[in-house]
Amino acid sequence: MTATPFFSVRNLHLSFADRAHKPLFGPAPRIEVLKGLDLDIGEGRITGIVGESGSGKSTLGRVLVRLLDPDSGNVMFKGQDIAGLDEEALRPLRRDLQMIFQDPMSSLNPRHKVWRIIAQPMKRYGLGGTREQATEALVRVGLPAEFGDRFPHQLSGGQRQRVGIARAIAVGPSFILADEIVSGLDVSSQAHVLMLLSKLAKEMGLTVAFISHDLSVIRHLCDDVIVLDHGVIVDNGPVEQVFDDPQSDVTRKLLAAIPLPEMDDTWFER
């Protein structure tokens, strides 16, 4: 680890208001989603964040790119605490903190053409944002240039996710959050998208936080892994270490539950 880690999160707490149980007067009770997390993300590394539904993995991701405000704690990004910054102060930092979303159908504006979806953030960050630059980004993620004129619904799931990647890399960030980006895809396009992401991360020296529920994917793609369970980190370290010698029962149980694509008579008994 270097002296200042790329991301350094300390004692992170986050809760949501439980509107369904709001009393007649007074504030709604809070549901704690993140219960005091400490973690570091190393520069240039791909860090997997894994857990079952309700573990808080997506919430943690959205705090890193500051789409959510934490209740308390520090989020140090390259030595600067971004946990308490307001939108105005965040905007210049956002170029550095990009995100690829789970559902490209929802995250790509259905009324905008592909080239515009890619070019608009570039324009906003003062990086030009011309048609040519958008095309360049498209080609870089392996899509034909003429796809720039299409609307998102005219693409397949894998192609849409590539557009999401193109939009993120086009502004030249140092960090990308990938939130369950292959969970809606078929196995064949899944492999394509993952290989593309890992290739680009290497080429551009990106730091990536890769959120997934699929441990197999994480083992292949990531350098480090953080295992979350009900808002608490139960395992954290380089993938080989966590997979070969898990520290918690939760991780052990998760690993034992993966159905590997091979015959194994003892699987059900494990």
Binding site: V65, L67, E87, R91, R94, R95, L97, Q98, M99, F101, Q102, D103, S106, S107, L108, N109, P110, R111, H112, Q120, P121, R124, Y125, F151, H153, Q154, L155, S156, R167, V171
Partner: protein
């Protein structure tokens, strides 16, 4: 891929076109008639001739050539009054519906997007407004503001903004929860600009459909106000005042009611169908 995206369009085409072109031709007819009323109308719409009162339309015995659709109780030509009535109907519908649309949509988008106090105040106002029976509200407003076209238009906008506000708020709320709003933030967009550049294009088809619907409604409201003698001066040829007159003389001259009723019927129907048709036509996703 290409085949998959073009096939449904081709299949949709014919049905959509008919649904678009039929109402569009009626509206075009209205516009032409309204613009060229002075040259088209065979008679002065205000000219009374008691010798020619209650003439039946051309297909009945006792009709008079030149008075195709007959005359009313004061001997005024029904066709000419309808032609001039189209002028007023279109004027009211375009101006009133546009005003209502802008006013209501902006409030609805602000409430849906910003939430918080804006939402609470606007929703409370909508609640209060919706507690009024709209027709009574309109009658009351025109009574307060005095009769006349401006009052009618103002009354429509002051009452019907809630329709836009409600629907647009709900649609904006749906859109605000989509990931593309978050990705605009990631992409450096300011909060306000996200509303106009990202969300508005997605709410626009709904607004257009509502606008068309409102144009039909505005014509009806004007007719209702004329019907209770509160629109513009009773002599003026509006479809509503013709209907009021026709309702009174229904047992002697039913055609005075029939023809403006047909005009109203097709206008309202056309605007409503047109709204849905335009929504589909200009929605890249539905295409």
């Amino acid at each position: 891929m290409a085949e998959a995206s073009t096939a449904p369009r081709a299949r949709h085409g014919s049905g959509l076109n008919l649904r678009l072109w039929l109402p569009l031709s009626w509206v075009t007819l209205l516009v032409v008639v309204a613009v060229f009323a002075r040259w088209i109308a065979p008679h002065d719409p205000l000219a009374q001739d008691l010798l020619l009162e209650r003439l039946p339309p051309f297909f009945m015995s006792g009709s008079e050539p030149g008075y195709w659709l007959g005359t009313d109780s004061l001997g005024r030509d029904v066709l000419s009054r309808m032609i001039y009535g189209a002028q007023i109907a279109l004027f009211v519908s375009v101006i009133a519906a546009s005003a209502t649309c802008v006013f209501g949509s902006v409030l609805g988008m602000l409430a849906g997007y910003y939430g918080g106090w804006a939402e609470r105040i606007i929703s409370r106002l909508v609640d209060i407004w919706m507690a009024f029976p709209p027709v009574l509200f309109a009658v009351l407003l025109v009574a307060v503001m005095g009769t006349g076209l401006t009052s009618v238009i103002a009354a429509i906008a002051l009452i019907d903004w809630t329709r836009f506000a409600r629907v647009v708020r709900a649609e904006t709320l749906v859109q605000t929860r989509m990931d593309y709003v978050d990705s605009a933030r990631i992409g450096g967009a300011r909060r306000a600009s996200t509303l106009w550049t990202e969300i508005l294009p997605n709410v626009l088809p709904t607004i257009i459909a509502l606008l068309m619907l409102e144009m039909g409604i505005a014509i009806i409201v004007e007719a209702i106000l004329s019907f209770v003698n509160l629109s513009i001066s009773t002599d003026d040829p509006t479809w509503g005042s013709m209907i009021a007159e026709g309702r009174n003389a229904i047992h002697f001259a039913w055609w005075v009611l029939l023809f403006p009723l047909i005009a109203l019927f097709f206008s309202v129907l056309s605007f409503s169908v047109l709204g849905e048709g335009l929504r589909q036509r200009f929605d890249p996703v539905l295409q």
